[in-house]
Amino acid sequence: MHGELKFADLEAARRDLENRTLAKIEGDFARLIYLASMRDYNTGEYHHEGLACQFTETLARRVLAATHRDVFRRLVLCSVEELVEQLDSYVRSNGSTLSDFVRVWEKLQPYTVTVPLDSSPLTARFFALNVRAALAVLERRQARPLPDPRSASPRP
């Protein structure tokens, strides 16, 4: 049975990845970045030391690829409004300021390398457009002056 992957093993590995790793990462956007970073830029294959040790290298790759596809799918199919919330939560979790984040992301466009390998170019373009729109919304929100707390609620 060499090389044959059992469904039970795949499920166990998937659960392990979700419970031990992904559960600690807040929000799908952060998970997407994490999963994409597990992929080798040259070969397109995923590597996860812990998962590979506990299960097998092949199984770890399969599970990482499938989970990556899943998280990406959820983000592609969510609305721009939800994506703005996801991005906002991601910025808050990594400690950078919103203005720096928007500036760097608009310039480097790191979200383009988070697309799973088997996605169609159309899906990738759709995702990139949504992220860029979400960044524009975040930028606008950030530029908006905060309401003056003194004039916000009149004293009784």
């Binding site: 795949l10 499938a66 596809r69 899943d70 609305s79 159309l122 899906t123 457009l129 729109a133």
Partner: protein, 195 residues
């Protein structure tokens, strides 16, 4: 006499559709799918099932409304233009995929002695109807934008689904001609990983 304008309108529409697609064939870009020729030897045809589900978002006005509300006029206009372009490419992708489906079917049908001429004629007619419908839909999207054309997206998708069902019987097992696309049923967002 009254039918002349109708025939004339149909002729003009058919010509316009053909012209648009003739022009589009010349416009090759980085994002274009590989030619059908390149995929002739590769069965099953690879298809990203997400592409079909995208229609629910591409033709949905919520995103455009949100961006218009929450960003500048310039960004809102840019977003609408990009979405229109994506909608047009989506129609082309669906057409291309149905063409691949039919090519695969033709290859499979050559070795099948049990073909029913009536069924084959019906399939040919559906294929033609799909091309005319999706061509007209393309023109509508191009003219009025994806949001106003959203009501009509079910016609080409429905016909494509019908074509899939009609070809299902003859295509060899293990050739899932990848028309998950045409299943039209968006899966719940929290589904488990497909392994």
């Amino acid at each position: 006499m009254t039918e002349y304008p109708l025939f004339l309108a149909m002729g003009v529409t058919a010509l316009a559709v053909s012209l648009v697609f003739l022009l589009l064939r010349k416009r090759r870009s980085f994002y274009e799918y590989p030619d059908a020729k390149d995929q002739e030897t590769s069965i099953p045809i690879s298809w990203d099932p997400l592409t079909s589900e995208l229609s629910a978002r591409i033709f949905n006005p919520d995103d455009s409304d949100f961006v218009a509300r929450e960003s500048s006029r310039q960004v809102a206009r840019w977003f609408r233009t990009k979405r229109s372009s994506l909608a047009l490419d989506w129609v082309l992708a669906i057409r291309k995929h149905v063409n691949l489906l039919m090519q695969t079917y033709r290859r499979a049908a050559r070795n099948n002695p049990d073909l029913n001429p009536a069924n084959e004629l019906s399939l040919g007619f559906e294929f033609l109807l799909f091309h005319v419908t999706s061509g007209i839909f393309y023109l509508v999207v191009w003219l009025v934008g994806p949001l106003k054309a959203a009501a009509f997206v079910r016609y080409p998708l429905g016909l494509a689904g019908q074509l899939r069902k009609m070809t299902e019987d003859i295509l060899p097992r293990g050739t899932p001609v990848a028309v998950e696309l045409l299943d039209n049923k968006p899966e719940p967002n929290n589904r488990t990983a497909t392994l």
